[in-house]
Amino acid sequence: MDDATRERIQTLVDTHPVLLFMKGNRLFPRCGFSATVVEVLKRSGVDFEVIDVLTDPEIRQGIKEFTNWPTIPQLYVQGKFVGGCDIVRDLYENGELDEVLAPVKNG
């Protein structure tokens, strides 16, 4: 991954408190795992930003290297990698996602 892509990703994760790298967008997720994370985030009532990696090949490949994580979706909260679909769903089902999202929850 070139430096420009690395910087772009760094800026994105530093800028958006809750950021989901996914396939598709929040209205039209293009993969089941991405759709699951979008649904969980919606239910958690937190504002979140989405990056559709299908429209950005550099980020699609770069995020895997950046995170050292081979799959999409990837959820970042306050610049820190939280996990992919399995982990986000596990956190949600165990009532632990709210804790992770607490610092960025509005109101």
Binding site: T71, F81, G83, L91
Partner: protein, 84 residues
């Protein structure tokens, strides 16, 4: 695509002391897999580190042959408690 038994062999070879392993081809196309992996190696690790251990074990299989993978990791104690 990759055969299920190769996924199993890779996991057993690279994750120490696997006590229970399930690998299921979700779609019959040998590229969408679901797995359950039980090993003491997950002890004391965060969820992310547990899953990274699995991704590292699968290596290049995650860069094409396997399109989608969903899996759960347990220590033997947690697995026994679930089964109990």
């Amino acid at each position: 695509m990759v055969e299920a038994h190769l996924v199993e062999a890779r996991l057993r070879a690279h994750i120490p002391d696997v006590t229970h392993l399930e690998v299921k081809d979700l779609t019959g196309t040998k590229d969408h897999y679901e797995a359950v992996i039980v090993s003491p190696a997950f002890e004391g690790k965060s969820r992310v580190d547990q899953q990274r251990l699995v991704f590292t074990a699968l290596g290049e299989l995650m860069d094409g042959p396997i399109h989608a993978l969903t899996f759960k990791t347990y220590t033997p104690e947690r697995w026994a408690a679930l089964a109990g």
